[in-house]
């Protein structure tokens, strides 16, 4: 049994990872857009893209057929808010590119060249069914953390799907500390930096005129101009209910900004305001402790209540481990399904919960026409699972990214194999591989 698993994993490694045309048939098919699973479904991927998915889909002649044997087949998980690719070992500084606290730049920072597709967290997250991730920088020397990216977790040398896909800023206690010590300083600094960027856009000479008094530098201004005109979505970390309301009001001065709220621990207290503003939220849904005074109202029913109010809710894994354990997304979504049957609690239906870790984050970052579901035209990120993907311990048996079959072998698998029998044999363990 164990040996058979190993052999099939080895076979996958050996297979060249080129885009292939593939039809997966006999699937319990999850499209990922909130619709119900389809028994006996088929998904057809050609040239790296989904061309058809559903019941009664005809398999084109001459295409590779994979029989899912009735197992669950879904789009790959989209990690809604992560640092995957930015760190190998968090406490080893040289490997950790999350934050740049000593940089003289802020909004202009671009994580793309820091991303490491060869890092071991890529393979581990992929082996847990995560195929795409929204990656945000952690922080900079200034108010804005910089520009994040949307990435893929394929076994290749280039993970950037879309660079500069978002700008990140932390409001609340963290942002206040950066801005000078109070929320008043935070909101003023935010506004003044954006106004400076707007002036720079109208007349680039202004920055030079301000000289060392300039609130921002050219690279930062360039990035903020794209925030002001709505080209780059602005992801705002915010938890306290009143902070959320004040962040929503930022659009009075900058109406084109595309806001995405991250954290939103007390969002349920102002759910109708968020819904009316048509702003998507990314939540870490099991946060239920008053970790600080911004999270006094924390409850696991937050996600369900926000969704019930009409807020587009994506489920992420942050405030926990945001680089190594993206696979927790399925567990967290599963917990929301469990909450739905608990008296007095709010959760989500299975279909809605799965969408919250696939199409919802794709939509939040403005890429739902490209990633996050198995609707025709999306990337060919497909996972066959050994069981219900939202259940504990379910794992992919096959993963395709952009239509390419992926290795699911991790460094952890190699360690486990070496120590299946811990005792050393005729030679030390170092010879056992």
């Amino acid at each position: 049994m164990m040996r058979a698993l190993l052999l099939s994993a080895a076979a996958l490694i050996a297979a060249p990872a080129h885009a292939q045309d593939v039809a997966i048939v006999n699937a319990k098919l999850v499209i990922g857009d909130g619709s119900a699973p389809i028994d006996g479904g088929t998904v057809v991927v050609r040239g790296g893209k989904v061309v058809a998915a559903g019941a009664g889909v005809t398999v084109p002649a001459g295409i590779d057929r994979v029989d899912a044997g009735g197992r669950w087949v879904t789009p790959g998980i989209v990690a809604a808010f992560s640092r995957v690719g930015l760190t190998e070992v968090d406490a080893v500084n040289g490997t950790n590119d999350r934050s740049a606290g000593k940089s003289r730049f802020s909004a202009g920072l671009d994580i793309a060249p820091a991303l490491n597709p060869m890092g071991s967290p890529i393979a581990v997250n992929r082996a847990n069914g995560v195929t795409r991730a929204i990656v945000a920088p952690g922080g900079s020397g200034g108010l804005f953390a910089g520009q994040g990216a949307v990435v893929d977790l394929a076994d290749d040398n280039d993970m950037v799907t879309k660079p500069r896909a978002l700008q990140f800023v932390a409001f609340g206690e963290d942002g206040s500390a950066t801005a000078g010590g109070s929320r008043a300083a935070l909101f003023l600094l935010f506004r003044e930096q954006l106004l400076a960027a707007r002036n720079y856009a109208r007349n680039p000479a202004t920055l030079a005129e301000w000289g060392s008094d300039a609130l921002i530098q050219r690279a930062d201004a360039d990035a903020l101009v794209r925030v002001i005109d709505g080209t780059t979505p602005l992801f705002v970390r915010v938890d306290r209910a009143t902070d959320i309301l004040n962040v929503l009001k930022l659009r009075q001065d900058f109406p084109a900004i595309k806001l995405v709220l991250v954290g939103v621990t007390e969002g349920w207290l102002v759910a109708n305001d968020i819904a009316a503003a048509r702003v998507p939220v990314l939540v870490s849904p099991l946060t239920d402790l008053p970790g600080n005074f911004e999270q006094l109202g924390a409850t696991q029913s937050n996600a369900g209540r926000l969704a019930a109010a009409g807020v587009p809710v994506s489920v992420g894994v942050f405030d926990d481990d945001d680089a190594h354990k993206m696979g927790y997304a399925t567990q967290y979504a599963g917990n929301l399904v469990g909450l739905a049957k608990l008296p007095g609690a709010s959760g989500m239906s299975w279909d809605q919960a799965f969408a919250s870790i696939s199409s919802a984050p794709a939509r939040a970052v403005g890429m739902d026409a490209t990633i996050g579901s198995l609707r025709a035209g999306r990337v060919g990120d497909v996972v066959i699972w050994d069981n219900d993907p939202l259940e504990l311990g379910s794992r992919p048996v096959s993963v395709w990214i952009d239509g390419k079959a992926q290795s699911l072998v991790t460094r952890q698998d190699r360690l486990r194999e070496r120590y299946l029998t811990p005792q050393e044999g005729n030679l030390p363990k170092a010879y056992d591989r």
């Binding site: 070992v89 946060t287 970790g291 109202g297 469990g338 050994d386 486990r416 120590y419 299946l420 811990p422």
Partner: protein, 468 residues
């Protein structure tokens, strides 16, 4: 019962020691007697438990799937809880009292309450503001004189989350890992109380928190003092144990006249009364600690955060040392780099004592889910482990490692009625605790908002009394 335990503890104390006992208001002082004749005597339980268990009702749960905590399973089973104890457990034919509260468990599961052997609730409470940071006395690499119970804030909202969402009925609160010897731990019943004494598990032995590896050498190395290396860690430990051995010999010879709180704790370890809980990630370091324990004559109860136990599972089985582990935490620090998701099942397969722990105010709320992930990883490798066997990782094994396995951790007649009724299979993501009993008293009921504890801190705040 509680009184009996306390009395016997005190009796044991006076056998081993002599002197300043504060008991029943009566205080003896060493100075009132010639020191040469009477060695120093002191009370080993100066902050005694005042926990007595809350009022119980004769309760029957029937038609329920039971994991007994020791690896047994009863389908369509019944349990009788009487006067705070498990009275009977059996199948559908078991005779049941007619005057009991009856809970129908159809489609549900009943287990012993979860025991978290590694928690910082209360000493690193929520909100985690600086004023609440009471887990590390990081002013000296060895502080065996500090007691975590003196840091525990009983109003930490985390206790109620662990109860209501996690089904946790007992837990060990440890000092942090900044120090090689961080101080004494305390085992609590997970009941709300005005005082920590009102939570203390009656008669549970004390633990000593020790820490290997990166943390102590980083904390003290960065202060420019010893230890700054792993060899420094061992040198400081060995020097301290050497001192403790000398102190213990003096004590055994009746020659201790100056009470030393630090040495008293370590002497308690050397005499086997205090259990060692050693934070240790790497296999090679665990092997060295095992030798150090033999060098000085103590035993390690449990290696905590033991992410590399799978590399030496055979040694751990032979030495009878437990591993307290996460299912899949990895990569956050160098000594957690070789973590594998099969660690827990590999340790179990080797016949070594296997425990799932949290070290986290969030994961303590779903230790059953952590065990489920580890179980799935084991089965994926082809290992045959039943659900009921895996439950030993969550209750009976941690109970034994804490020295309370004779009283709780499994559903055997006469043991404490620390019980959780789950609204489905507890190894499913879709399942939650429905009812939790501690010593037979119902302390949480998902169907009854009045049985949802609200700490002082949460009163008058947004979301008071919410489902959480």
């Amino acid at each position: 019962m509680i009184r009996g335990v306390k009395a016997s503890l005190l009796a044991a104390v006076s056998l081993a020691f002599a002197g300043c006992t504060a008991n029943g208001g009566e205080v003896e002082t060493a100075s009132s007697k010639p020191a040469a004749e009477k060695p120093v005597k002191f009370n080993k339980d100066p902050y005694p438990s005042t926990y007595k268990g809350y009022p119980t009702r004769l309760t029957v749960v029937r038609n329920v799937t039971i994991f007994d905590g020791e690896g047994g399973r009863i389908d369509n089973g019944s349990i009788v809880l009487s006067s705070g104890k498990v009275d009977r457990v059996g199948g559908p034919d078991m005779e049941l009292p007619t005057d009991a509260d009856v809970v129908d468990g159809t489609g549900k599961y009943l287990t012993p309450g979860i025991i978290d052997i590694h928690s910082h609730l209360g000493d690193y409470p929520s909100p985690s503001v600086e004023a609440h940071s009471d887990g590390n006395e990081a002013t000296s690499p060895t502080t065996p004189e500090v007691w975590s119970e003196h840091s525990v804030w009983p109003q930490d909202p985390g206790f109620s989350r662990a109860l209501a969402n996690g089904g946790v009925t007992s837990l060990q609160i440890l000092p942090g890992s900044a120090n090689l010897m961080g101080g004494r731990s305390i085992t609590l019943k997970n009941v709300p109380s005005r005082t920590v004494q009102g939570m203390k598990f009656p008669g549970a032995p004390y633990g000593l928190k020790m820490a290997c590896g990166e943390n102590p050498k980083r904390v003290y190395g960065s202060k420019g003092r010893m230890p700054s290396t792993r060899m420094g860690n061992f040198a400081v430990n060995r020097a301290t144990w050497q001192k403790a051995a000398a102190y213990k010999k003096k004590m055994d010879d009746g020659k201790v006249v100056d009470r030393d709180l630090a040495m008293e704790t370590l002497a308690g370890v050397l005499s086997g009364e205090i259990l060692v809980h050693n934070h240790c990630y790497r296999a090679d370091e665990m092997a060295l600690v095992i030798d150090m324990s033999k060098e000085f004559g103590y035993k390690v109860s449990t290696f905590h955060h033991a992410v590399e136990s799978y590399k030496i599972a055979d040694m751990l089985a032979k030495e009878g040392i437990c591993s307290a582990m996460w299912a899949d935490w990895w990569g956050f620090k160098m000594e957690a780099y070789d973590s594998v998701p099969e660690n827990i099942p590999l340790v179990y397969k080797a016949g070594a004592c296997t425990i799932v722990h949290s070290d986290d105010a969030n994961q303590i709320q779903r230790l059953n889910q952590e065990a489920a992930k580890a179980l799935a990883s084991g089965r994926r490798m082809g290992m045959q482990i039943s659900d009921e066997q895996a439950w030993t990782w969550l209750s009976y094994n941690p109970a034994k490692a804490l020295g309370i396995g004779d009283r709780t951790g499994s559903l055997k007649p006469g043991k404490m009625a620390d019980v959780v009724l789950w609204n489905g299979n507890p190894f499913s993501a879709y399942t939650r605790p429905e009812k939790v009993w501690i010593d037979g008293a119902m302390m949480f009921d998902a169907m009854n908002p009045k049985l949802r504890p609200v700490s002082d801190f949460e009163l008058g705040q947004p979301g008071e009394g919410d489902v959480k």
